[in-house]
């Protein structure tokens, strides 16, 4: 199998895994087996995967409150993530993180984040480590359109340019910061111009199109790896669920989501494209879908069977040394 074919297989596997993971989390949360605050990523898969397919082990990402997709795209263990959401001892963070704070730095995932925009300074630090230690790594911050107006974001844009850091700022504009449309909340309305105002290039791409995202991400990552500094990647997309699980999303027009699901589904678009181009066969795609479905089923069974964290763990891990 050629490298490109392998990349496509991986990309489809990850996008499918994110979609099925989120659909299942939605169901399990409705059943009451997943406690806490959940924000689902379904619909935006091409963004996380399109970017992360350009990254390797030495690269870091920071994510958002809507972080499951980024975690899967960066290579976090799906079963351990499912355990974490079920608040179990075998979770990726031993049941201390939950949805909004899960991380695995051993695969370069610096954490989902409950604070909007907070990942941006953190990736500046990860990029500084890469630059200082000459690892050749880059650091990517995923954020939503809402984060584009946070001080943390704007300060990080400037610092990354001044220090010429290997950072890629990825704005996934899914149309709404919670319930507020991005068309209303972003002053000036144009984040590419905003990036250029800070002295870095902005690349935009259709976030429903894996190939477009991946191509644009490739340019931004290459720039960073070559030592040419940061850039911004602006992706338009949508989320299929509410801001949080339980959000009736009454701010969206009747039928808006259904229409987008039908006409703008990154998975359907991917399949049509690879089938039409003869890049993957229907059997291959179906095989991946079956494999992923099995993995998600197994992960839920495993999570349900796992034990809750021992109460003695309440006071451990506050410090590395006491």
């Amino acid at each position: 199998m050629s490298r490109r074919d392998n990349q496509l297989r991986q990309a489809f596997w990850k996008m499918t895994a994110i979609r099925r993971f989120e659909e299942r989390v939605h169901l399990e949360n409705e059943k009451g087996s997943i406690p806490g605050f959940i924000h689902l990523y379904a619909g935006q898969e091409a963004c996380a995967v399109g970017v992360c397919m350009e990254l390797g082990e030495r690269d870091y990402i920071a994510s958002t409150h809507r972080g499951h997709g980024h975690a899967i795209a960066k290579g976090c263990d799906i079963t351990a993530m499912m355990h974490e959401l079920h608040a179990k001892q075998g979770g990726i963070c031993a049941g201390k993180a939950g949805s909004m704070h899960m991380a695995d730095l051993t695969v370069g995932m610096m954490g989902a984040n409950g604070i909007v925009g907070a990942g941006n300074p953190l990736v500046c630090g990860a990029a500084l480590t890469a630059k200082t230690r000459k690892t050749g790594g880059v650091a990517v911050s995923f954020m939503g359109d809402g984060a584009s107006n946070q001080a943390a974001t704007l300060e990080s844009f400037n610092l990354a340019v001044v220090w010429k850091l290997p950072v890629i700022f990825v704005v996934e504009d899914n149309g709404y910061a919670e319930a507020t449309p991005s068309s209303w909340s972003i002053g000036g309305g144009d984040l590419i111009k905003r990036a250029e105002g800070f002295g870095m290039p902005g690349f935009s791409a259709d976030g429903f199109d894996y190939f477009a995202v991946n191509e644009a991400a490739g340019k931004a990552v290459a720039r960073a790896r070559n030592g040419d500094g940061p850039s911004l990647l602006y992706l338009t997309c949508t989320r299929y669920y509410g801001h949080f699980e339980g959000d009736a999303a009454t701010y969206r027009a009747r039928g808006e989501v259904e229409e987008l699901m039908e006409k703008r589904d990154c998975l359907s678009a991917f399949k049509s494209r690879v089938l039409a181009g003869g890049m993957m066969s229907a059997d291959e795609l179906a095989g991946i879908e079956a494999e992923v479905a099995d993995l998600i089923d197994t992960s839920v069974r495993s999570a349900v069977a796992d034990v809750e964290p021992d109460v003695s763990r309440l006071t451990t891990d506050v410090y590395a040394t006491y």
Partner: protein, 335 residues
């Protein structure tokens, strides 16, 4: 043994740790001073001259000037710490905490716990605190209690040049985020500081003097004021012990309880505002765990619950004075 200023002691700790471990880097506003300007590249060495000379030794890759951007620079320190560096960030004044608290409170402090004990964040934030330089409300506060309230942060408050060097070396070698509090009126204080590297451990207070009548516990620069008060009380025949916790998180509870029990009469001196502060915390510790040993109610001597004023006459009244501390000593002795 050489005599050095508090400033020189801190500079030497940074220098020796940077020489020992190339993962140690410095980040801050004007910590070199002049980066990108046409004049000197080490124009300031920090606003108080603490980092002077280090860019010349270690270069701009390890001594990084920043834009005035505390949120981003503290957060970059946190991110760098989680990914393999050991950054020492200078937050020029602790009063600037307001614009960067999230990166300390919600990010660096919580990484280890949130991520199930699988991450280390060896970040040091050096910051100056304290009144006395007529710098008024936004450049004179004493905010270490806010840091100590947050699980995951450690807080060191060196009261003299020897501890400043030893505690900072411990802070840099520590695998947790440490807030290192430097009193801005102490940079020119002189004391004995060995040239060789040494550490002062966290969570181990020090007894500066022992006396049978009253136990005085003081924080940071207040040790000096308390010493004057203890001297004055001696004229009245009152003998005091003096305790310096040195770090307030972790806090040497064992030593505090032991020294409180020895006299049963305790005065706590803290330059910070009184509500929910470290003095109140220590008082509560003693009341909860050494109540049976107490001969008198614990007395706190702190600043009033006001911002720091500008006018010298007001600022002098704001700071705990030797007279107020001496009066408190007499009060608990006479109870």
């Amino acid at each position: 043994m050489a005599r050095k200023t508090y400033r020189e002691a801190i500079n030497q700790a940074l220098d020796q740790e940077m020489a020992r471990d190339d993962r140690v880097i410095l980040i801050g506003e004007d910590i070199a001073g002049g980066t990108g300007a046409s004049g000197a590249q080490d124009a300031w060495g920090g606003v108080m001259g603490v980092t002077k000379g280090l860019i010349g030794k270690y270069g701009p890759e390890r001594v990084l000037d920043t834009p005035i951007s505390e949120l981003a620079l503290v957060g970059a320190g946190a991110g760098a710490a989680a990914t393999g560096l050991r950054p020492v960030v200078e937050l020029m004044f602790n009063d600037f905490l307001g614009v960067c608290l999230d990166q300390l409170m919600n990010q660096a402090a919580k990484f280890r716990y949130m991520f199930g004990g699988r991450v280390r964040a060896p970040l040091v934030v050096r910051t100056q605190y304290g009144a006395g330089l007529r710098a008024a409300a936004q450049h004179s506060q004493t905010l270490y209690s806010i840091f100590a309230h947050i699980p995951g942060l450690k807080v060191a408050v060196p009261s003299n040049p020897y501890d400043a060097k030893g505690l900072l070396m411990s802070a840099i070698r520590d695998d947790d985020p440490v807030i290192f509090m430097e009193h801005k009126a102490m940079y020119d204080d002189i004391g004995e500081v060995p040239d060789e590297a040494y550490t002062v451990p966290f969570g181990e207070g020090r007894v500066l003097q022992e006396g049978k009548d009253v136990t005085v516990i003081a924080i940071g620069r207040m040790l000096q004021t308390a010493e004057k008060a203890i001297q004055a009380a001696r004229a009245d025949g009152i003998r005091c012990s003096l305790v310096d916790p040195r770090t307030i998180s972790p806090l040497d509870e064992g030593l505090i309880l032991e020294m409180a029990a020895e006299t049963g009469r305790v005065v706590i001196v803290d330059e910070a505002n009184p509500r929910c502060g470290v003095a109140a915390d220590i008082a509560s510790l003693i009341c909860e765990q050494a109540f049976g040993d107490l001969q008198a109610p614990v007395v706190k001597v702190t600043a009033p619950h006001t911002p720091v004023p500008f006018a010298p006459v007001l600022e002098d009244a704001y700071l705990p004075s030797a007279e107020r501390i001496a009066a408190a000593i007499k009060q608990v002795r006479a109870y």
